[in-house]
């Protein structure tokens, strides 16, 4: 176990030195990857772990980004200070909209979540509350500052975004290996049996939505800060599809898989830039090919480890299993 952690640490450290070796463009590509990684990790809680077909995550992302933009541009709240507010508002929104639909099954939930993201987008385009700037969106969002340092260049954002991503990975890893994380998996596997084992399935499903939305809302802050201008088309149904694809292609419920998925889904179209007009054609074919090649996702979740030393009265211990 410790050896594994050490390996992850080394890999993370190596990754942290990346901006020194690549140009700002590729650094910015990595930033986009990181942003989608955070988003997909938050969707993974709902889609991967609880198994709810949610294709409307961009709605929560939008709420977070617009909250940030309005707080910053209209009320001059520093961008990073707006982050908790963005999360909370997105979570509240999730609480309100998810409650009545939580019992819907599979594809019915899927279309309803698509509906929610479309309604949000249309509301933004139509300048709801006279605050979202309609189709123009909101521009002039200030660059974030951290301890007096102005985050401006791609390399600055690299550390902001990937730092946030690292924290997300750690916390979600803990969450996965807890009562909460397991309960979501029970619901995914068999809802009736989960309820019959004493899991309050409705509450947990709602909890997954609220947590996922909270995180997506915070990712919205990062996005607003990075772009300095946001508009409704950045939160279309297609955005949700991209996040959805990252989770499924990477491997439902697998943090490593979702990270890899983010690299591929966001990174490949950039790699294919040389192909000009044909790049999306190749990308589409690559998506099909990858899915066929790894039908369970690229890196399906590894079984959880339980340390049974001192618990098993017999001779068998964790090591013997391996």
């Amino acid at each position: 176990m410790n050896r594994r952690y050490a390996m992850y640490m080394v890999a993370a450290a190596a990754f942290a030195t990346m901006p020194a070796f690549i140009n700002p463009y590729w650094t910015d590509v990595l930033n986009t990857v990181g942003l989608y990684a955070v988003l997909a990790l938050s969707l993974n809680i709902i889609l991967g772990h609880a198994g709810m077909f949610h294709m409307g995550h961009a709605a929560f992302y939008a709420v977070g980004a617009y909250t940030t933009a309005v707080l910053n541009v209209t009320f001059h709240v520093p961008v990073l200070w707006a982050m908790p507010a963005a999360g909370v508002l997105a979570a509240l929104f999730a609480l309100v909209v998810a409650r009545p639909i939580i019992h819907l099954r599979g594809d019915y939930l899927l279309i309803v979540t698509i509906g929610i993201v479309e309604i949000v987008r249309i509301a933004l385009v139509n300048n709801i509350f006279d605050m979202t700037g309609g189709a123009n969106g909101i521009f002039g969002i200030a660059r974030p500052e951290l301890f007096g340092f102005k985050i401006r260049k791609p390399v600055h954002f690299f550390y902001l975004i990937w730092g946030f991503c690292a924290v997300t990975i750690l916390l979600f890893h803990w969450l996965e290996n807890s009562r909460f994380g397991r309960a979501l998996n029970y619901i995914r596997e068999d809802e009736v049996a989960a309820e019959g084992s004493g899991v309050n399935t409705a509450a947990y499903k709602l909890g997954a939505f609220v947590l996922g939305a909270f995180w997506a809302g915070m990712a919205g802050t990062l996005f607003a800060a990075k772009m300095t201008i946001i508009s409704p088309e950045s939160f279309s149904f297609w955005e949700s599809v991209v996040m959805f694809t990252i989770v499924i292609l990477g491997g439902m419920g697998s943090i490593r898989g979702v990270l890899l998925g983010a690299f591929l889904i966001v990174g490949l179209p950039e790699v294919f830039r040389e192909l000009a007009s044909a790049r999306m054609l190749v990308f589409g074919a690559a998506m099909v090919a990858m899915m066929i090649f790894r039908t369970q996702g690229l890196l399906p979740p590894a079984p959880r480890h339980y340390d049974l030393r001192g618990i098993m009265s017999g001779t068998q211990t964790r090591e013997e299993r391996a």
Partner: protein, 301 residues
Amino acid sequence: MEEFFQQLTNGLAVGGIYALIALGYTMVYGVLKLINFAHGDLFTIGAYLGLTLLTSMGLTGHLGAVAGVLVLAVMVQVLVAIIGYLLERVAYRPLRQSPRLSAVVSALGASIFFQNAVMLIYGARFQVYPHDILPSATVSLLGLDVPLVRILMFLTSVVLMLGLYFFIQKTRTGTAIRAAAIDQGAAKLMGINVNRVVSLVFLIGPALGGAAGLMVGLYYGQINFTMGWVYGLKAFTAAILGGIGNIPGAMVGGLLLGVIEALGAAYISIAWKDAIAFFVLIIILIIRPTGLLGERVADKI
């Protein structure tokens, strides 16, 4: 009041097309439990193939409008059916035993592929069907002038729906399709050739989609490579609204969606039209969680 009826016919005309695409969606979904996101693009392909055949072969010139369009429709359906069949073999069959959502992602990939393939082959510009192929006569209905073509399109949708419904409910092959939809293994034990059933469904569904594409091309005239995405999403919504997997449901859902959109645009706001439609959908699903005509089998425990 006249405006209301006018809007109703507007809604039914649009809804008829949604319904036709939704039928294909629902067929495929019924058997494979697969949301075939590429279905909308098969619709686009139908529209483009129709245009190519129309302009290259001059069918309507040689055979006259009615016969020409019918021959054209058959050719388009056959071609799109073949593409649908190949799609299933290449992108979906290898995923038959995998988690359902894997196939959904494969479908999304296929959709991107088709959309861009059409763009590369035909160009990104709008393409336009020749004008005046269809008769421009209008029929007086309840004091309204309704274009004849709209009525014909609507009737075509209804006839296809009824035909499909009887095919699924009453014929031996239809029963086989329904059985394979529930449990493929058990269906094999009944002596059903499941691969053939799936292939058949992937011939019928895309053929319907292609027919709808041709219809849109002929009537509205203007087609482009992204149109399938919008229509596909609408049709998926319609299928769910009616209860996915259910053939009359797709019809009812499609028509209803068209009417909701028209009335929403007329009496609430044009700009919020789609939001209103989704809102109504959500309310309906909250009340009836498996759609209007969807089966509601209690989970026997």
